[in-house]
């Protein structure tokens, strides 16, 4: 039983170490970039399990729909509101997780009666996973490697700017396409209304004079 105890102890010890490693090291991050459609009077929530000490960033942008605004709300596992904004078009919020657990963020379009919105969000949790998961960074990076790392970071920010530019351009383009169809419908509609009203006016006026009364003619009402 002594050896069994020792075996159990060392197994438990390894378990403890691994667990501690998983909990304390806020590494192995993830980035989720999602674009979804939010119908009118709807609310959609997303959840993520985050460990203590992880630095997270939530960025969102409304692409199409109405006044291009949405309500956003971010809550920690205990229900405390970390971020709450109404009718925002674009925002970025960075926080460090103070508790382990499930963080929840919701986008709400409940204030809108008939426009549905397309919302983009980018939720970055922790750092990017390293290129070599099995590496043990004992030695420092060589000059070439650190140059590669800085180029990689710079290109990441280029891609990030490109994404935001694309979203803003999508916004502008959707407005332009809306304008185009609206101009078409309204022009045809107005031309028809114009014709109907002018022909109608003449016939209405004629009807005022068509009864055989010789009393004062009504000029206008």
């Amino acid at each position: 039983s002594g050896s069994a105890q020792r075996w159990a102890a060392s197994a438990g010890l390894w378990g403890c170490r691994l667990l501690a490693l998983l909990l304390l090291v806020p590494g192995l991050g993830s980035a989720s970039e999602i674009t979804f459609e939010l119908p009118d009077n709807a609310k959609q929530c997303f959840y993520e399990d985050i460990t203590l000490g992880t630095k997270c960033t939530l960025e969102f942008q409304v692409i199409t729909g109405g006044h291009y605004d949405v309500d956003c709300r971010l809550e920690d596992p205990d229900g405390n509101v970390l971020y709450k904004e109404t009718k925002k078009q674009y925002d970025s919020f960075t926080f460090t997780a103070s508790k382990n657990g499930t963080y929840k963020f919701c986008f709400s379009n409940e204030f809108s009666t008939f426009t549905h919105k397309t919302v983009y969000f980018d939720f970055q949790v922790g750092e990017d996973p390293p290129l070599f998961p099995s590496e043990n960074r004992v030695s420092a990076l060589t000059q070439m490697e650190s140059a590669c790392v800085s180029i990689h970071e710079a290109l990441k920010s280029v891609i990030d700017y490109q994404t935001h530019f694309r979203l803003r351009e999508a916004q502008g383009r959707s407005r332009a396409e809306d304008l185009n169809t609206r101009v078409a419908y309204w022009s045809v509609g107005e031309a028809l209304i114009l014709l109907v009203v002018s022909i109608g006016q003449v016939f209405l006026l004629k009807s005022f004079f068509s009864d055989k009364r010789t009393t004062t003619t009504r000029v206008g009402s």
Binding site: A8, A11, I199
Partner: protein, 235 residues
Amino acid sequence: IFTRKGSRMAGVAARQLPAMGLSAVLLLVLCAAGARALYFHIGETEKRCFIEEIPDETMVIGNYRTQMWDKQKEVFLPSTPGLGMHVEVKDPEGKVVLSRQYGSEGRFTFTSHTPGDHQICLHSNSTRMALFAGGKLRVHLDIQAGEHANNYPEIAAKDKLTELQLRARQLLDQVEQIQKEQDYQRYREERFRLTSESTNQRVLWWSIAQTVILILTGIWQMRHLKSFFEAKKLV
């Protein structure tokens, strides 16, 4: 170092065994939780759609995992066989690129051939509808497009690349993605310009047309009324 610590711990093993057992269980739970990803809840007949705006010849990889809500225990079951999700991907022209049924855990891949908004729709297609009635499904989803979809450790192993070569490959992939995005931007800008020019033309011609209609109907009104009043001997 470990053996020294191990022998020290063995002495107090009897007291700390339950605690270690608990942490081992916690560890297992963490491992069972699987890859960390965003999740959301979906109803039984609900269809959730996500949009990926991507340039052409870009690969998109999506991973999902579903968990079913157990009404009696009020928890989400770790994994339920028999749950299925139907994944449908449409390209910008509305043509279906991918339409397949996957199990409770799945991975779908597609490559875009036209640039634009691709719509990825998921809805549950469970074979165990009875259990599902009135319940919710928790879906863990992770969608990666372009360069993010590449698995570098796998590429390094397959092509036997050194660390520097792998980093160079990653940079090349990133730059390729930037180039594709810029080509897509040029295509979008052209579409935007065509739309604006079409609006400009429409506004121009319809304003002229409406002014002409206004003048013509005005003239017709006056002439018609004049002849009407002359007939009535009022003028």
